[in-house]
């Protein structure tokens, strides 16, 4: 037991990717995989999309950590949808025991203000909550064996994770600065890995390359490149002729009508064009020299069984 997680030693896994690449699905599968064998993981979302609830077929999640899935050996995945307002109030309560003043702040719209206008503050609160969960201990042990963060998409992830830079411009001293420094040092430690999810399509691959360059420059550790929606390697030989299709159809006991043969040949050709592009994109990603993992296309949508399959694939990779 425990052995199946040896390929994913970090404690905080940040999952990003271009919109539409399936990063939330990958984050959920990773949380499931890491919870196998009696462990406990926390899956966190920060963008108010309620994507976790949708994936697990649940009602929208409140701002509290609750079990969304049980795994083997008595393990479990808990989930949390972090709301910046709630996080701010919780933070104020924890550090300042504000009580009535906290409520007054909300009354005059200060919470709305603080979480909307003060740039970076919102992100410090969100990442601060993630840090708190990652490092939380109880009875001398960590509460969570791993925390998986379904992070903002590639275009915004650098800014989101680079909290100190953003807040340092505004806050030179005080507890918020301390808080953001704490978050920054966790994010730059070997405890953290940022995984980037992509499809074998041009724009997601370009954004993956850009995001990895940005994260590297920020000294935030990059983990895996997850190629999602990979198609089975059909027509690996890369060539097909109509004569061949005709022979094959006949061999299969079908009528090789010209319309059928033409249609099949055109589809095969489009497939080859697509495959060639995918190959060159795969090569571009490989040149990054980062560990890569491929997950198959799930044509019938994502349910718990599919998530478990993806989880198993991830853990083996």
């Amino acid at each position: 037991m425990g052995d199946e997680h040896r390929n994913w030693p970090e404690r905080l896994h940040v999952v990003t990717g271009k919109g539409g690449t399936g990063k939330s699905t990958v984050a959920a599968a990773l949380a499931l995989g890491l919870a196998a064998g009696g462990r406990r993981t926390l899956l966190v979302e920060v963008e108010g999309r309620q994507g976790i609830a949708q994936l697990f077929g649940l009602q929208p999640l409140p701002y509290s950590e609750r079990r969304v899935a049980a795994t083997t050996g008595g393990g479990e995945v808990r989930a949390l949808a972090v709301d910046p307002e709630e996080a701010l109030l919780e933070y104020l309560d924890m550090f300042y025991k504000l009580g009535a003043a906290g409520r007054a702040l909300r009354k005059v719209g200060a919470i709305d203000f603080a979480t909307t206008i003060a740039p970076g503050l919102r992100d410090v609160l969100l990442t601060g909550k993630v840090k708190e969960a990652t490092t939380r201990s109880k009875d001398g042990g960590r509460v969570y064996d791993a925390v998986v963060l379904d992070a903002p998409p590639t275009g915004r992830v650098g800014r989101f994770l680079n909290v100190t830079e953003e807040t340092a411009r505004l806050v030179k001293v005080g507890p918020i600065k301390t808080q953001s420094e704490g978050v920054a040092s966790l994010l730059r430690s070997p405890m953290t890995a940022v995984h980037v999810v992509t499809l074998l399509e041009e724009m997601p691959v370009q954004e993956t390359l850009d995001a990895i360059a940005e994260l590297t420059a920020l000294k935030i550790p990059v983990g895996r490149v997850v190629v999602n929606g990979a198609r089975p390697p059909l027509l690996a030989g890369g060539k097909v002729t109509k004569a061949e299709i005709k022979r094959g159809l006949t061999a299969a006991g079908l009528t090789a009508a010209p319309a059928t043969v033409n249609q099949l040949a055109a589809e095969a050709q489009a497939h080859l064009t697509r495959r060639e592009l995918e190959e060159s994109l795969r090569l571009e990603l490989a040149e990054l020299g980062r560990p890569m993992v491929e997950l198959p296309l799930l044509p019938d949508g994502v349910d718990r069984a599919a998530l478990d399959d993806l989880a198993a694939l991830l853990m083996r990779a």
């Binding site: 203000f113 027509l235 592009l277």
Partner: protein, 379 residues
């Protein structure tokens, strides 16, 4: 051909040719091909319908931007060269939104040079103008308002920002307005206005409040913030008025909203949310563009037959190539069927919203020819 849609057919050419339509807004979830669609619509409006068109893009992929001759963030529309407008007499311009510069321009327009310099130097402004959640959306609206007010374009095609939610585009101006009108801001302003608190009723909680703010944020930040707020105060009216104006333009029949979606569950769900909002806000929803639909026809072989035949060939160990070809065919048929089902979910919720489908292209679009192909498919 593309699988049959159950929705009424969206007449894109009719829309692009209609001189009464001055603004087309492309909106939808991230990663569905909004920018490509916007660019293709702009190209077709210029080449086929002879309109003087500008495409406002927010964050285009590099190669797509290059295909329109855009190489850097640039708030000036640039003419797209190498397109075929000889017979139509149209023109195509494109620009990429520079959020920071647009914000600076708004500030300059609404205040004195001295005040503007003060605002530009404030750390809060520097942070807000480049990172404020919603600034990009607000500035896209602002730029749209400017382009429309200039009245030198027959048609403005807008690509909305890649928001966490497509709705942010509609909400950002209202949020900014609300913020600028907020009690919080007035509380902070009260001392700057000479100590006369607007909120005499809450002076008790103000003491508590400022103490709390000082404790959390520190005095230096509070000074910067009230400086920023005081400076902004002079422009409040202008800000709000502009946001309201743009909002009204969006409700006007001169605007057409096109929802862009890929035939995937999440994207369709997002499109449905957005359609609901547009209806609620009385904004003119022209139709749904379904991107990347997979096209195929059985051609005498349905999916089950193809799969069974492929399995037979694989078992024989011969004719592996045809087996693969049959699997590709079956996969396409099933995918096309799934996509049609997903698209029908939208139409069930909004039966009167017309739709059009664009066949998936084997390779990504990043030149004018590719955009022209998309334009032909869409119309």
């Amino acid at each position: 051909m593309v699988a049959e849609l159950t929705a009424p057919r969206l007449d894109v050419d009719g829309l692009l040719a209609d001189p009464a339509i001055r603004i087309v807004v492309c909106c939808g979830a991230g990663g569905v091909g909004k920018t490509t669609t916007a660019a293709a619509l702009g190209l077709r409006a210029a080449e086929v319908h002879g309109r003087r068109t500008v495409v406002l893009t927010i964050d285009p992929a590099r190669r797509l931007a290059q295909s329109m001759g855009l190489t850097e963030l640039d708030n000036t529309p640039r003419q797209v060269k190498g397109i075929d407008v000889d017979s139509s007499g149209g023109e195509l311009y494109a620009m990429m939104l520079d959020m920071k510069r647009t914000f600076d321009e708004v500030v300059e327009q609404h205040t004195t040079p001295g005040r503007a310099a003060e605002i530009f130097g404030n750390p809060f402004y520097q942070a807000m103008s480049s990172t404020f959640a919603g600034t990009q959306e607000y500035m896209a609206m602002e730029k749209l308002g400017q382009l429309r007010a200039g009245d030198q374009w027959d048609l403005i095609v807008v690509d909305t920002p890649p928001s966490r939610s497509a709705l942010d585009f509609l909400d950002a101006p209202a949020r900014l307005s609300r913020f600028l009108d907020g009690r919080m801001l007035r509380l902070l302003l009260a001392p700057a206005r000479g100590g006369r608190s607007v909120f005499s009723l809450v002076t008790a909680s103000f003491g508590l409040f400022s103490k709390a703010v000082q404790k959390i944020l520190g005095a230096q930040l509070l000074t910067d913030l009230s400086g920023f707020v005081a400076a902004l105060d002079s422009m409040f009216g202008g800000f709000r008025q502009r946001a309201d104006q743009t909002y009204r333009i969006l409700q006007d029949p001169q605007t057409a909203f096109l929802l862009v979606a890929a035939p995937e569950r999440d994207a369709i769900r997002e499109a449905a949310y957005f359609a609901e909002r547009l209806v609620e806000e009385r904004m003119p929803l022209a139709g749904l563009v379904l991107n990347r639909m997979h096209q195929t026809e059985p051609a005498g072989l349905d999916a089950a037959e193809s799969e069974a035949a492929a399995d037979r060939l694989t078992a024989d160990g011969d004719q592996q190539i045809t087996a693969d070809v049959l699997r590709i065919h079956a996969g396409l048929l099933r995918q096309s069927e799934r996509e049609t089902t997903v698209a029908a979910e939208f139409t069930r919720a909004f039966p009167s919203v017309p739709a059009t489908a664009i066949a998936a292209q084997p390779a990504d679009v990043h030149d004018v020819d590719g955009l022209r192909t998309i334009g032909t498919l869409i119309a």
